[in-house]
Symmetry: C2
Subunit: 372 residues, 2 copies
Amino acid sequence: MKIKYKLLKQDNNSKARHGIINTNHGSFETPMFMPVGTLANVKTLVPEELKAMNSAIILSNTYHLWLRPGEDVVSKVGGLHKFMNYDGPILTDSGGFQVFSLAKPKDISEDGVKFKSHIDGASLFLTPEKSIEIQNKLDSDIAMSFDECPPASADYKYMKNSIERTLRWAKRGKDVHNNINQSLFGIVQGGAYKDLREFSAKKTVELDFDGYSIGGVANDGESKEDMYNAIDYSIPYLPEDKPRYLMGVGEPIDIIEGVIRGIDMFDCVLPTRIARHGNAFTRDGKINLRNLKYKEDFTPIEDNCDCYTCTHYTKSYIRHLLISKEQLAGRLLSIHNIRFLIKLTEDLRCAIDNDNILEFKEEFIKKYNKKK
Amino acid sequence: MKIKYKLLKQDNNSKARHGIINTNHGSFETPMFMPVGTLANVKTLVPEELKAMNSAIILSNTYHLWLRPGEDVVSKVGGLHKFMNYDGPILTDSGGFQVFSLAKPKDISEDGVKFKSHIDGASLFLTPEKSIEIQNKLDSDIAMSFDECPPASADYKYMKNSIERTLRWAKRGKDVHNNINQSLFGIVQGGAYKDLREFSAKKTVELDFDGYSIGGVANDGESKEDMYNAIDYSIPYLPEDKPRYLMGVGEPIDIIEGVIRGIDMFDCVLPTRIARHGNAFTRDGKINLRNLKYKEDFTPIEDNCDCYTCTHYTKSYIRHLLISKEQLAGRLLSIHNIRFLIKLTEDLRCAIDNDNILEFKEEFIKKYNKKK
């Protein structure tokens, strides 16, 4: 069965929408933030912890799983859900973003991308067909089309050629996709160029995917303005009965801006990555728990946070774990940070239901950006 | 309230004994293995996980907590239990072992030990009084006397002087101990010398502690024979109504041999340390999950193990996490390895109840040492 999107409530004052997506592994409401489980685990965490923080769908990386342990190992045990013992919905990306960001290929042809493994330097070749074949074997609930992710600095001519090739790649991938239980999303590219975003969106929709994502907004180099424009340029051409996914975005304010512009799904390594460096999201902005001022602060990261970390541990304890280089620190901060973004999407759904998302945004930003 | 030991069953064929110890944070049966939470956490794990594996008491390190975060921080929040949000019994060591093994002091005097911090090289001075003062503030359920841990290679004369000084240190520590809710253990030293072990045991018991431990068996250099002899030389002089604790021992076979010789409590970093290197205890001996042969092994580490790891994940998945350097691997292996040792002590208690611990040992060793 393919996924199915149902609109529950359209915001009266913006493009924001509260919906629900049914999958073969349960349904989840949108807008929704997806924690990233690059290598078939959300770093340091187990599925029970994700469920406890109301996480509904995770993202896993095709490129990484292709290299390790290999899609055939995952397929042999019955797919990614069985392999990692996670029974909720899983989205896999196409590998494209990782190939372009980690392996920095010099050799992009019509056929595909030649590059060197970031692990051992081995020569590899990824094509649209191969990406889909791997994802078919991983048996995720949602697969992504293989796309080129050109840098933000790409000129108009390069970008135009790139999105045209990405469209041909999307078609080739769709043609070989053969997992009836897996949905397939198309990806809109086009950088900061309005007409290219429009062209890419229209042509991608013509190919008729189960959902659409907006890519090329979270490489290095894009400004927030570029990101918001890319959404505004693309959204009008995406069908209302399909989910829209903004790839690689996880800053709280960007999630809010994305939702207001009509985005349903987000993913980002940010909450787990900043956790490893001792940072925590709070409604009053990001804080670093290594700070000396927390040495004897026996209050939780956030008083009113319902996550496991905030209901069990103090800033003083987490600081101690960080200073002592104990891995548990990263685990506890990951729990808080992921829960923070999931709670944010819960609050956004509530704001949509109450038609007050613009007030919510204003208040959130004022508090979040307040000088501390 | 001080801890209280009650004998439940004396084995008919050995010195092994099944008992129960009451503490201010609950009671636990012995023999018991104590996981090590050096820096106020059992590496990568939370208290709920320890409880789920039937862990009943943990050990935490005075030396490490003295340096980070400092005993005053812990004391301010109400002690170690509150600081790390763990409501079970906690034993703290004296810091002695860490000072001698990590800081390798050159300057041991009657007063105490001068050494350099292993973190920043700062000059530090630890005395019996200071060790007890720190432990009083940490407010553990059981504190240990400050002792010298001479190397296995120490000659008779050095060892004799050392245990005599350790006895004076034990007395000084006991004199300043002033936490009525904390029990205090004495430590028997004496290396591989029978008469020194006897002397140390008798004189330590004369000081009248709440329990006794046998130290100096898990430095570098002691043979298994030395360890078993040290127990045999000491045990006859320890009172039957007090717990006996063999410090730093966690090899399964050593735990069995210790129990048979009359030991009640064990601690060791082994299960978490080997976990970080990909190793797992099994009844068929230690295995390394990095081994290629587990790449497509979709069975748990042990079929009949009841731990969270074995009931949820395969060898193939754990191998993948290890090869991918994911921290979750260490967490899952720590859970299995700690549960393995705790289950071993549960089985030993059962064997004592059934008077068949010698058969249990023979069978266990045959299986554990079988060439694979």
